[in-house]
């Protein structure tokens, strides 16, 4: 293993993020090649957390752009400060000349930076997180492609602005829509699966250090088996952490069906999934003698 990859593992671990080699290798490549990192995976496997951990490890500011349907240039790139512009126009003496006025009110002082412009104009290197890019529409994706290819944008009134240092870019997607090939090709691809029991336990130890070890093991084993059920919304790592916190709040010592049922709301966020998990089903899931290999 390259020492740089070990550095990534250690660095992310130092920021509270338990990475594995899949993640570390791809992150290492993305940093070295200055390529955007496209992270996909089910909800709650820690996609967004990667950007946060990178920002804290590399000591770079994090700029986050949350995507949604209808997101456009106004909300992602820049907007003019209309109130300020209006005041300025009112203060202008009559017949002062429209050109001069326009130069003033369409200048940097009247510009409201949105996340993408802030990322480009930042003097220092930053981490740019473009979260849930699949929620934005195709038009926005095309615009993003332009920004990501040379980190410059054009504001008609001001000209072209180019980034002084290339940001570390992390894009996340929940896969609700197929992203364009062009965007995918710009990026290094990272698929994050649900963690295996060892990794999930490591995460739990790090994020919930006060949780008793036997209980942590029980909780992880339970969640791991729960994910093999046919659920509409299988629990992610975030849910495991909530579940552990709930167990701790109830002063539990070992996991039993009653406790699991009480704290199940932390794991299951879908009424039909909830209904399908009867007391008998929970008992079966918690029974260590029922082999897990036949369910796999």
């Amino acid at each position: 293993m390259r020492p740089e990859i070990q550095d990534v593992l250690d660095g992310l671990a130092g920021s509270g993020y338990v990475a594995d080699r899949v993640i570390a290798t791809t992150v290492h490549l993305a940093l070295a090649l200055e390529k955007p990192l496209l992270v996909e995976g089910a909800a709650g496997v820690g996609k967004t957390e990667i950007a946060k951990a990178l920002s804290s490890w590399l000591r770079l500011d994090l700029i986050r752009l949350q995507c949604y349907e209808g997101l456009d240039v106004y909300t992602s790139l820049y907007e003019w400060n209309y109130q300020k512009q209006l005041l300025r126009i009112r203060l202008e003496p009559e017949n002062a000349g429209i050109e001069r006025l326009e130069d003033t009110i369409y200048g940097a002082d009247y510009l409201l930076e949105r996340p993408l412009l802030r990322a480009i104009r930042s003097e220092a290197r930053i981490v740019l997180l473009i979260d849930e890019v699949d929620r934005a529409d195709e038009e926005f994706e095309a615009f993003l492609l332009e920004v990501l290819s040379d980190f410059q944008v054009t504001i008609p009134e001001m000209g072209t602005l180019t980034a002084t240092s290339r940001p570390v870019v992390v894009l996340t997607s929940n896969g609700t829509r197929e992203l364009s090939d062009a965007l995918r090709r710009r990026c290094l691809y990272l698929w994050i699966d649900y963690p295996d029991a060892d990794k999930e336990l490591a995460i739990l130890r790090r994020r919930a250090p006060t949780l008793e070890e036997p209980l942590a093991r029980d909780a992880v084993a339970f969640v791991q088996r729960l994910r093999r059920e046919r659920l509409a919304k299988p629990p992610g790592v975030a849910e495991t952490l909530d579940f552990a916190a709930a167990l701790e709040a109830m002063h539990a010592e070992a996991l039993d069906p009653g406790l699991a049922s009480d704290a199940l709301g932390a794991l299951i966020k879908d009424p039909h999934d909830m209904a399908s998990l009867s007391p008998e089903a929970l008992e079966r899931l918690l029974d260590p003698t029922v082999g897990s290999s036949d369910e796999a």
Binding site: L33, L38, W80, E178, R184, Y189
Partner: protein
């Protein structure tokens, strides 16, 4: 782990090795262009060539771009890394040039099957002069005839009617706003621009309105027994209606097949013939097929813009429970479910079949779709 065999070859010349891998991936149907191999070669300079796992993970992030490709990549990578003998056989295939995609079941990798009869497709699809003559009229005899009573010789004629029927469909508006209109939210940017010229007085207010966006359609057609005929015309109709829009078509009976890649290459009839050749038209397992659809395609194809159209008589041989479960999940993920059941044509029909009964609570629109006239009502029903 230390490398051996072709792993050693990698150490000797990573670029060459990667170029070879690229050829094998392409032969397996993975899209793999120059930009991917260049990226992979760049990655290789940053990876330890003696560490197989590291090379594997690194190259994977360069070559793959969605979760469905991961398995395929893993298989190709390790085959090439471990065994020289198979690498030789596929390199001879590469030497033959072009690396044709092998015939595979549709849907698994999203790759279309081997090209079929393209000439027939062009003949069927090419607009003929008389098509532009008469206008579509629902009064025409053929328009009301149920598709299962359409003779073989009339199929082409109906296809031409469908072409005539292609309605200019209005499209749904998206949440993205574009300049224009008189009633939408204010467009501050353009209004402020205008106010510069009127000494800061906002005299003309510019507004924005919602853009129009076509919905995406996912069509699941029962091709078992008598349903095949209806399915054929529905698909034909939707293809004609939605040339520009995104339509994903599936056929099902006891199994599910992704038809879209076939349709693009061969057209509907060769695609259905290929399914028939695999002895498909025996029985229906709707529930299981819908679950397969959800598992493989649900994430990417369903969404707020998706309308799901299911054509089936609902005579299901499978269990009711999976059907109900799948319908519930589709209902939650899609904008709308339209169920077309040709049996509805009969006024005496009541949805008594247990499969149909189980599915109905989740259906937004229930229609027959059995004839041209019935199909003509579809766009309004879908509000597309």
């Amino acid at each position: 782990m230390s490398a051996s065999g072709t792993g050693d070859d990698y150490g000797a010349d990573p670029r060459r090795w990667i170029a070879g891998l690229c050829g094998e991936l392409r032969a397996e149907g993975l899209r793999c262009s120059l930009s991917e191999s260049v990226l992979a070669a760049e990655c290789a300079t940053l990876l330890d060539p003696r560490d197989a796992r590291e090379v594997w993970l690194g190259l994977r992030s360069a070559f793959c771009s969605n979760p469905r490709e991961l398995d395929l990549f893993d298989r190709c990578f390790w085959r090439r890394w471990r065994g020289a003998e198979r690498a030789v056989s596929s390199s001879s295939a590469r030497a033959a040039g072009g690396a044709p995609a092998p015939r595979r079941p549709p849907g698994r990798s999203g790759q279309p099957p081997a090209p079929g009869d393209r000439v027939a497709l062009q003949a069927a699809d090419a607009p003929t002069p008389e098509m532009f003559g008469t206008a579509w009229s629902p009064a025409h005899a053929v328009a009301r005839r149920s598709f299962d009573r359409v003779g073989e010789d009339e199929v082409r004629e109906i296809d031409r009617w469908i072409e005539r029927l292609v309605l200019r469909l209005s499209t749904r508006r998206s949440r993205r706003l574009e300049p224009g209109g008189r009633r939408g939210p204010l467009d501050l940017r353009r209004s402020a621009r205008g106010a510069v010229r009127t000494e800061g007085e906002w005299i003309r207010l510019a507004r924005r309105r919602r853009q129009r966006h076509p919905p995406r359609l996912v069509v699941l057609c029962d091709v078992s027994g008598s349903m095949e005929r209806y399915s054929r015309f529905l698909v034909r109709f939707l293809l004609a209606v939605g040339r520009a829009r995104e339509i994903q078509t599936f056929a099902f009976s006891t199994r599910l097949a992704h038809l879209t890649p076939w349709l693009a290459r061969t057209g509907i009839d060769p695609a259905l013939a290929a399914l028939r050749a695999r002895d498909w038209s025996t029985g229906t397992r709707i529930g299981e097929c819908l679950e397969t659809f959800l598992e493989r395609y649900g994430r990417t194809m369903l969404g707020r813009r998706t309308i799901v159209i299911i054509l089936s008589d609902g005579l299901d041989q499978g269990e009711v429970e999976p059907l109900e479960r799948a319908m519930r999940r589709i209902r939650r993920r899609a904008r709308k479910i339209v169920w077309l059941n040709p049996l509805l044509e009969s006024t005496r029909y009541a949805p008594e079949a247990k499969g149909m009964k189980a599915a109905l609570p989740f259906v937004d629109e229930f229609a027959s779709g059995h004839s041209l006239t019935a199909l003509a009502r579809l766009p309004a029903l879908l509000r597309i």
